[in-house]
């Protein structure tokens, strides 16, 4: 028996980035289940004497630590009977119903067990979940969070990158260290960098709790999201905590004026080996009920570290959106994941973010990598420094506010340099380090830490240790900045210290915008259908539109119209064109702007060279070229057909200034041409020469091989159509309906061609 040969398409597919991704088959026993597992309990709850004595099929005596905490602090006995009795599909419909207020649904959630919440969102499609999320999320104005880390823990680059992240519009900045003992230096560097420019950005340094509290107390940081919770008792204990220890820690953060959010996400229990064969969404629902119970204002969820594993499962991305929906439905601020890189496929990455861009989120990414992938100490994010401009473009494509704003090259460079100088000045003022000028210059231009000649981690450790042992605080940094002439930065940092005294940013979904607190309290999401909820202001939309490399008509014409009115015209009209009678006669019909207002094809060929190639080709094929200026049309087909009808041979060529060309015959319908070069950007002079030759060969009664302009699959439309449309408008603007074609003579400096 002969084997069927392998289709080579599979070889090509094998080389695509997608094939690096692993896809897991559903396997409930191994914990690979997204929305349903036979081991998930059926929703139930029972109240006796105002006390919850049963949750999801489990009696009080069997409650594990999560059940016990949820029963005592999440479930509202006043709402349980009503909420648990509702049909899940009815509740799902309420979630997408613009006429049912968010508050009404939040009240019902307070009476629902984890299994009940899951039964509702499991009834919803990805689109419905996205829509419900846009309605249920807490703060009206969407925001975003950046990772600012550095593989060398280089304070200079951290400061510059923090300033860059702030300028891009991130509302929160999160750092962590390659070397744990560098935490104080990283915190100081990022705090200084974040004070350059607009200021007013929340900042966290992710490290072990005791240290994080200390750094927060010193005034460097303003929020924490390291309060991790897990969906099974075994995973929780293995994570070295309990709901009570985490609730205590949450209160401790509040007591130090530090905004806190919990972290949880699908598949973390799977990664830790304690999944109890339950679906990842059910376990996450337990985490989220627990978080509300603990009184934390918000959550970082949507897979997080487990997002790639969840995305390997069928429906995994829908699951990640579903858990985000449960979070906001429970009234929690949601930093909605989109941090860990879930795929090597750029298509999957783009698709992953799109629902969030459209729905908006308190913090769309709970860590957008603002630095290069290799510098991200947390691991690569869904989006990274490499892909920031893709993200900015998606905002513009969908008219969606993803929280970021395009910035100009010169302003970025100034901000970065200022940040580097500011941290260097602070280090010097506080006797921590005299920074060499070469380091400053090296960091200013470097894209990432691999390009720098600057601090090494060991040196940073000494500085970090000095900051810690000397008890330096943000107040010392404010003073140092001011003394060294960084008055604006000193004020920005001081502004953040003032914020912590009022505690305003401790409330749900609080961020700072333009020096003011906005949160779910004073900027509540009030979406109730079209015409309500968040809409970009005109000014905001204009800012989002200003992506780099924007083509304007003026800039395109400036570049493309190399028209010098003082030069002698090389195409001179000699009178009205008439039909030729020579059977070798081949007319080339030139468009209205050809060689006058427009002088180059989109491939960059000078139109003189194009005409020479065509005419030489015609002669090679035994024809006699004749040039005619068309004024009644700029369309290739009609240029070609008109030329053919003027030709003694009956064959003509039509060509536009941008280079699109056609061979036509007098007796054909306008759009039934003989040969067409539609892809002007990849058409060479040799192709034009061959086209001329073929036209003459057709006229001589031969059947030449048509000219093929090879394409390699580039999107010529994406690359050229903006320019083409602007240039073509010049041609059509010159069209005069009834103007007759004009005979042309070609006069070039060195003799030109005979006509």
């Amino acid at each position: 028996m002969t084997s069927t040969p392998r289709w080579r398409r599979f070889d090509e597919w094998d080389t695509r980035q997608l094939r690096h991704d692993l896809f897991a088959a559903e396997d409930v026993e191994a914990g690979f289940a997204t929305f349903h597992s036979p081991w998930d309990p059926a929703p139930s709850a029972r109240v006796e004497n105002g006390r919850v004595v049963e949750i999801d099929g489990k009696a009080e005596k069997d409650f594990d630590i999560l059940d016990a905490y949820i029963a005592a602090h999440h479930l509202d006995p006043e709402v349980i009977d009503e909420a648990m009795a509702m049909d899940p599909v009815d509740v799902a419909r309420m979630l997408v119903d613009i006429n049912v207020p968010r508050e009404k649904l939040e009240r019902l959630a307070r009476g629902m067990t984890p299994a009940k919440l899951v039964s509702v969102v499991a009834a919803m499609s990805s689109l419905e979940i996205t829509f419900a999320y846009s309605k249920m999320r807490q703060r009206r104005t969407p925001g975003n969070q950046a990772h600012v880390t550095n593989a060398k823990d280089d304070p200079l680059q951290l400061a510059a990158d923090a300033a860059f992240a702030v300028a891009l519009g991130f509302d929160e900045i999160e750092t962590t260290m390659r070397v744990a003992s560098n935490s104080w230096a990283n915190a100081m560097a990022c705090a200084v960098g974040a004070a350059v420019g607009r200021g007013g950005v929340l900042f966290q340094c992710s490290i072990e709790e005791a240290e994080e509290l200390q750094i927060g107390m010193a005034g460097f940081t303003s929020y924490a999201e390291t309060v991790s919770v897990y969906g099974t008792e075994a995973a929780f204990v293995d994570g070295d905590d309990t709901p009570w220890s985490k609730a205590f820690l949450t209160a401790a953060y509040a007591s130090r004026g530090i905004k806190a959010r919990c972290t949880s996400g699908a598949s973390s229990e799977l990664l830790m080996g304690f999944h109890e064969r339950q679906s990842v969404l059910y376990l996450e629902a337990r985490c989220l009920c627990l978080q509300r119970a603990m009184g934390v204002q918000g959550t970082q969820n949507g897979g997080i570290d487990g997002a790639p594993l969840t995305s390997s499962m069928a429906g995994g991305m829908r699951e990640l959106m579903a858990e985000n929906l449960i979070a906001v439905w429970l009234g929690l601020e949601c930093a909605s994941g989109n941090d860990t890189r879930v795929s090597e496929s750029e298509i999957r990455v783009g698709a992953k973010i799109t629902p969030y861009l459209m729905a908006g989120s308190d913090l769309i990414c709970s860590g957008f990598g603002s630095i290069r992938k290799y510098d991200n100490t947390f691991n690569p994010s869904l989006f990274n420094g490499e892909e920031i401009e893709d993200y900015l473009t998606l905002q513009r494509d969908f008219e969606a506010d993803g929280g970021l704003t395009p910035i100009t090259e010169s302003s970025v460079e100034q901000l970065r340099m200022r940040a580097i100088r500011a941290i260097a000045a602070v280090f010097e003022e506080l006797d921590l380090k005299k920074v060499p000028e070469e380091w400053v210059q090296s960091v200013a231009t470097a894209s990432g830490s691999q390009d720098t000649d600057s601090f090494n981690p060991g040196e940073v450790t000494r500085i970090s240790e000095a900051i810690r042992t000397r008890g330096l605080t943000a107040v010392d940094v404010v003073r140092a900045l001011s003394r060294r002439g960084f008055g604006e930065e000193a004020e920005n940092l001081l502004f953040m210290l003032r914020q912590r005294i009022s505690g305003d940013y401790l409330q749900t979904s609080a961020i700072l915008r333009d020096g003011r607190i906005i949160s779910a309290l004073n900027d509540p999401n009030d979406y109730q259908g079209p015409g309500s909820g968040y809409r970009m202001s005109d000014a905001r939309w204009q800012a989002v539109c200003e992506v780099r490399g924007l083509q304007t008509r003026a800039s395109v014409l400036e570049r493309e119209r190399r028209h010098d009115p003082t030069t002698t015209p090389w195409l001179v009209a000699t009178g009205e064109a008439v039909k030729g009678d020579d059977p070798r006669d081949i007319v080339i019909g030139l468009s209205p702007a050809f060689g006058v207002e427009l002088t180059r094809t989109t491939a960059g060929h000078d139109l003189i060279d194009v005409v020479l190639a065509l005419t030489e080709g015609i002669r090679e094929g035994g024809g006699t070229p004749r040039l005619v200026r068309m004024r009644h049309t700029a369309d290739t087909s009609f240029l070609g057909l008109t030329a053919a009808r003027l030709s003694g041979s009956g064959y003509g060529i039509g060509i536009q200034a941008k280079g699109t060309a056609v061979i036509h015959r007098a007796d054909r319908l306008p759009h039934m041409n003989i040969e067409l070069f539609s892809n002007a950007p990849v058409t060479t002079l040799e192709h034009y020469r061959a086209m001329g030759r073929n036209a003459a060969l057709y006229a001589g009664g031969e059947a030449p091989e048509p000219i093929v302009v090879p394409v390699d699959g580039q999107s010529l439309a994406a690359r050229y159509h903006v320019r083409v449309a602007m240039l073509y408008a010049i041609e059509t603007g010159l069209v005069v309906a009834d103007a007759p074609p004009l005979e042309l003579s070609m006069t070039l400096g060195q003799g030109g061609i005979p006509t």
Partner: protein
Amino acid sequence: MTDPLDLYPISENAPELAVSASGMPLERLTLEEVLAGRVAATDIRISAEALRLQAGIARSAGRDRLALNFERGAELVSVPQDVILETYEMLRPGRVTDPALLTARAEMLRRDYGADAIAALIDEAVAVYARRGLLRRRY
């Protein structure tokens, strides 16, 4: 009585109510004061009063769980850092094998700092830890 929600944000609507843990009013936290060396680390710490105000605001906004957390936070404002970290450590699984130690810690916090809500949280933990076998050494 006015709705506490009207106070929010306090920094804009009632800055006079924002006083740091050391008693420094918000408006005194200026660059001049910092340069004059009149601002210390305790001056940039939130006060229990501010947290209780925020608790009232959260409750008025229908967020009673958050309000309770702010009230627990208010109780911890005057608790020294080492006591906080030690208590947190004791609440971690398996750190304490004798429930009486946790109960004593709760009693101390109640007595010395008036931390009734925190103490109640610890007492609740003791009962569950005992039932779930978490009062067992892990290392």
